[in-house]
Structure formats: C-alpha cells, structure tokens
Amino acid sequence: MRSFFGILKDLLSRDGRFRFAFIALSALILFSLASYWSPHSPRFSFVVPPNMRPNLDYWFGTNSRGQDLFWMMTFATRNSLAFGLMTAALSRVISIFVGLTSGYKGGLYDRVLMAINDSFIVLPVLPILILLNFILRGQMNLFTLSLTMAFFGWAFDARLMRSQVLSLKEREFTNNAIFSGMKMHKITLKEHLPFVMPIVFSTWINNMMWAMGMEVTLSVLGLSNINIATIGTTIYWANQHQALISGVWWWLGAPVAISVLLFLSMYLTVISLNQHLDPRTRLQRIREATTDGT
C-alpha cells in the first residue's frame, strides 16, 4: 500500500486533469477558509455600498443588500461544501453497508434489504423534505437537513454497489479464488474492493452533487433557512431582488461560477483517482508504456 502522498505525487505528475482539479479545489478550500478572516458578518446587510459591479475594491461586486459578494461567497462555499461532504459521508456509510451485505449474503437478507432499499428509492424526497420542514417548524438548519438528506439519499447507490458485487461474484476470478480456498471476506477485501472503490468514489461525488443541488432547489423554492449563507440561499436572495432582470448579474454570476468550478474540479479529481486506483487502468498504463516503447 503506497502512502497517500505517493499517490498524490504520482497523479500530479502524470495527470493534467488532476493537476487542474487539485489546484482549483485547493484554491476553493482556501477561499472558503478565508471566511474566518471576513471583515463582515454574513448575517448583516448594508455594510458596503449596494449594487457595485466587480471592481478592485470588491472583486465579486456587491449585492443589492449591501454585502460584499467576495466575503459572502467565502461563507457560502464553506457552508455548502461542509453540507455536501457531511451528507455524502453519512449516506456512504449506509449505502456501503446495505449494498455489500445484500450483494454477498444474498437470499433472504438480499430480499429484505432490497425491499427496504427500494422503498427508500421510491419515496419522493422533495415532498418529504418539505413535509419535514413543517414538522421541524422551519428550524431546519444545515445539520438537520444533511441528516435528513443522508437518510433518504443512500438507497440508489446501495443498489449500484449491490449490482457491482453481484456481477463480481459471477466472474471467473471469484470462482477461481473460491476454488483455491480463499475465504469470502478475503476475496471481498483483496479482489473486490478495488472494483467497488471507484463506485464509492463516484457515488460520493454524485451524492454531493445531488445534496448540494437539492439545497439549491429547496432554496430557490424558498424552503431553506435563508439566514445561512450557502450557494442556494445566495441564489434565493438574488431572486428576491430580481437581480438578473435589474442588471445585477454578478449576484448570480458569483454562485454559478463557484459551483461550476467546485463540481468540475471534484468530478475531475474523482475520475483521475478512480482511474489511478483501478487495477485495470494501471495495467493499461503499463501496456501503453510497453507498446509505446516498441
């Protein structure tokens, strides 16, 4: 097992996409950490002149509520990132557990778990989130929202993992391993995990995308906590002031640019990492290296 830094170094030197993603992501994280040095609290409005175009003083411009969009976006990025990460992490735990158990145990376990699983897939998340908003009396903060989303957001990925396991189990190398007397959990760890990991990673990103996208959806519909700066609530407030129509395009431009950069770099990170970890791509690299040589 190579160290984390080894992989990182390897990827940085080999993969242009990863280099871009790594730099962008680090920049965004630094950007979000800058919120701790913000001269203004995100809770207060009319602290700077409103509706200023992006300029040297206000890099991202200022909004109609008299807030400096640069600093507002540092908070928004931080909160949205934290929210996405937490939701994805929580739901990964559930989906890995359910997907692997169901796939390996099979039989009754599989049927019961998948029945539960499918019920969760089927539940319409948006109406339920809205109903929960009623129950929690609009006190829904990012943490409770993330818990709820994780609770409803694992099922689809568990099914993906299960089908991956099912198809792995039917493959020749699994049968070979069983015939050669390898224990199932060993097979799982040694032979199958490298195939499951890419799915964990890609669903991680997809789940983060889904969670953050859902946050934007809820905010646009006016159903989130509008006091917390996130990418979604920034868009919500811009809409409240009809920013696009009244020509304050940078108010929407800032969250859009940030979210595009964020999703783009996360996605690139993951496909690079996946490729790197996938033994087949590693093999292909070696093959390419040798064929290039001849």
Binding site: F44, S45, F134, G222, I226, N227, Q240, Q242, I245, S246
Partner: protein, 637 residues
Amino acid sequence: MKSKYFVIAVGLVLALLLGSFAATAQDFAEIAPGVARHETLILENPEGRIADPDRFNRWAPGGGASTGLQQLALDALWFVDPNAGIDGEPWNNALAAEGPIYNEDFTQMTVNLREGIFWSDGVPFTAADVVFTVETLRANPGMSYHNQLALLVDEVYATDDYTVVFDLTRSNSRFHAMFTVRWAAMFIMPKHIWEVVDDPLAFDFNPPVSLGPYVLKDFDPTGHWFLWERREDWERTSLGMQYGMPAPKYALYTAPGPADQRVMAQANQNLDVIHDLSPEGVQAVISRNPTSRGWFEGFPWAHPDPTLPAVIINHEVEPLGDNEVRWALQLAIDIAGVSMASYSGAATVSALHAPPTGMYKEWYFDPMEDWLLNYTIELAGEQYQPYNPDATLAIANMVRPSLGDQVPTDEAEIKKALGYGWWNYDTDMAEKILLDKGFTRNRQGNWLLPDGTPWTIDILCMGASNPTMTRVATMIAEQWTRFGVPSEAVVSDQLWNRMNYGDFETAIAWSIETWGGHHDFFFFLESWHSDFWRTSGELASGTNRMRWQHPELDRIIDEIRGIDFDDPRGFELGMDFLKLAVEETPLIPLMSYNVFAVTDWYFWEGFPTSDNPYANPVANWSNTRFMFPMLRPTGRQ
C-alpha cells in the same frame, strides 16, 4: 456506424426545432383568433395557475377568485374604494340603490335595490336573488358566510321585487359589512340557475352567468388564463349604468409566472397590468418600457393598500407581554434601514396603528400629528418623547443619490409618498428600559432575561410568497441582533396558521386592515374585544393574533358597536384607539402594504394613479372593475 447514430441524433434535434419554428408565430395583432390585441386588456391574476379552472363557484372553496370572476362577472350590494372613488366618493351603491337602512336598535336592515339590472342570460335581477343567496349560504355548511349568517340572520325576505329586509338575531350596526366589497364580499347568485342545483357546495357554476359587464368567452383547461368579453347589454349592469361603457372589448386574466417573467412580459407589451413586483423589478420594467408606470409617476411607484404590515408580537410569550419591553424593541428598530432593505426606500411608513393610505392621512394622520409631536411616555422611570417627525425625510435623502430627480424634495410631497414620522431609533433608551427591568448583558453583549437565561427572538415571515416582508423580517432580525437580542427570520409557509394558534414569538404580517375609503375601524377591531380573546394554543378569533386585551379597548369597541357606520363620533373613537395603541404597543406598526402594481400605457391609458386616484389598480381586488369604464384606447395597434 458512427454517422448513423449522429444522423438520428441530429435529426431528432432538428425535427424539434423545425416543429417549433414552423408553428404559427404569435401575431402581435391578435392574442387569439378574432381577439384583437388593441381591444384587450391583459391583467395578472396573482393566484397563479388555477388547479380547477372550470369551477366558478365563488361561494364555496375551490376554483379561482380573481380570474376576472369577482372583478367582472359578479356583483355585490355595495363597494368601498380604498382610494378616493370615481367622483371623489369611495362609497358606491352597486346593486343597492342606496346605503343600508337600519332600524333604531340595529336589529333590522333594509336594502333598496337598483332596477333595470339583468343577468347575462337576460333574466332580470331582483330581490329574490338576494334572498335566495342568503338563504342558500345559511343552509349549507361549508359555504362562505354560512356560519355568520346562521348566527346573525333570523329571517330574510323580500317585501317587493326591489326591497330586501333582514331581521337580525341581535343588534349589529355593521351587518352590511358582509355585503360590502373591500377586496371581496358576499356576491349575489342567480336564483334561476342555482335553485335547480342539488348540492350547491359541489356545483361548479360553469359557465358563470354574469351580473357584471363581461361574460366568460374562453378559459385555459390547464388554468393559466381566462378570457372575458364585454356584454352586448353592458348598460344593464350596475357598473355600465353608472359609468358608461367599459372600454376594453376583452379582458384577459393570466398567470404570467414569477416576477421576472412579469417584467419581461410587460416589456414585450404582453401584460398591461402587473399585480405586484419587487422594487428592483419596477425599476427594471420602467427603464425598459417607456409606457410603464406605477401608482406614483416616479419613486416610490407603489400603491399603498389599506393594510398595515407590522411586527406582530405574541403577548403571551415572556418577556413580550411587558409593554416597556415592547417599547424597547420598537426603539431598537431603525425604520430607515427597514424601508431601504424591504422596499428600497419606497415604503410608506406609519407610526400609528392604521395604514397611512387613501383618505387616512386627512382623517387621522393630520389631526394626530400635533399629539404625536408632544407625546410623552414614562419609560424606565423617565419622561421620554419618542416621536421623530423627520424619519421619512431621512429616507428620501438616502435614496436621492441613486434616484435623483425621481425623489420629491418638497416636504409635503415626501410625506404624502413616504409617510409622516416614525419612532426614534434610540438603542440607548432601549438599553435603559431593559436594565431598569432587570435584564443584564452577557460577555458577548447579548441580553439575558431577568432570570439569567439568554434572550432570543424568532421572527416568522412568509418567504417566497411575500419577498418584501421577508426582507423586512431579516432587517429587523439584524437590528435586534446588533442591539444584543440574537434574532432570526424564520420562513414559514404556515405563518397565518401558526399566528392563529399563537405558535410564534413575533411575525412580520398584518392584523390591521381597514376600508381605506371609510373611517370605520370596526372592520378589524370587532374581534379585538376581550369577549373573544383566546389564549395561545386556541384559535384566535379574527385578527387578535397578538392576544392583546385592555379595558379601554373594550370601552372603545363597545361604543363603536353602538353607533352608526357613518356617525362622525367614529372619527373620535378611531383616534381614541390610535392613542391607546401608541401607549400600549400591541404590535409595532411599520408601513402600509405597498403593492407595486405597474400599468402599461401602450394600448390603454387612464389607469388610476396617485394624481387621479379614482380606483385601486391592484388587479385582484374586486373593485378594480371601476377602472374599466375609465380607460381609453391609445389608438396603437
């Protein structure tokens, strides 16, 4: 292989594109086959899409209300305009020939009806229709006004074809309010249609037989638009009879979508009357479309509705039951900041517990100004003068740099547009009050209640359904947080419900709505009597959602109840109420409900404005019907 898939893919896209371009491009001259654009007035219905558009039963739940139905096809006995009215008289006798006639002790009301009015199917309108309407509603639980009629009406009968008599179960000097349109009221049903209906609650009344000057021509089965056509016999309606022919041959009520779409639609000359916008939206549409204008020619554009947005305070939540604490919170509000954040300065603020609109400035605000200037209250053991007469001048100065000439400079003009004064922004005094009450500050500077627990306040607001009020809530939350009471604006779709049940601390909403065109306060005061007071957890009766009670309040209400609607003593009692409310701060008054109704003068002119305030331009009010006979075509096609 590769090319085959691409051909299919590109083919699909092209087919869609072509299909749409080949479609008959919308001709500007006609909005529908045979319906000329320049003969049509297009208005926004703020209800949006109607889920059951084929239901026109306005007397039971379901269906749309302001789809043109209650503006153009239904009629009531009386109307009160929130502004000056067409002839400078806000009161209008519509189906009735004159005002209500009560007996000595207000136990009987007699109504004389107009003659010569006909339903759109040619049947004459008579007293039988009125009697039938009242009896039907009274007999059917679930229909509107059912419970009130069951409670209040002993008997209703016609003495001849044009006279209706109501025998009441108890003395009630405001019984006619039920039949008088402010926004809506009890509309009259056609007896000849409804008398054969088995279940009036389920009856759809489709197509609606009209008593107004228009009939339904067509409507969208998916609920986005309703097209009305002027009746051939428009002069046989109460509106046509009084004010002549309504100018638009057609009226189209549409659901144009969210605010941005409304701006775009009007800029494309496809929406003559926008119901409401954000202040930014108004500036956007006015700068794009030279023929757009608001109620005021320039800043602040909006029409002030006779409704008073306020900080509604639940008196049963500690420490908000204490009047001095409420005063402290009031003094910790900077009204200029609230006005800027909510309406971009275009608010009409009010220090009194009445909307500063229509005739109210003349009736109440002018006479009260001296009293306010000299008003002294004992707070924290000190004599204190809280009134700041120049509050709105400060707001005008704040918006002048960005809006320049649009902002009036004349003091009287400013006060007409932005309201008179407001309360001091005096956090020092607020601090004194709290210290005097035994509150303390913790290390972060936040207030602790006398028992040492931290004090926080939630401010409920309506969110997406009312952006301006949400902006008020966040600004006040900010100001109170700065003052040391961590506060948060909480968006709730259940705002009214939660307020009705007392499940709130404070809220940005309204409890005070008035006629606007009439001085009587009984409209909202009736339910504030302590007889009807309900504790938190029970359903508030009427609008006393703040759970306020006061012996002096009961005295005022009782006295109003005993006098006639038009009795001049009503003015004095109104002022007694306003003084008591200043003293006791049952809620913190903020401003009038300013609606950014924007009209487009491209095809039509003569819309009501602040210079010619003959009606309300806010398109979902029933009394916007008075606009129709006053409009003139511009001749543009």
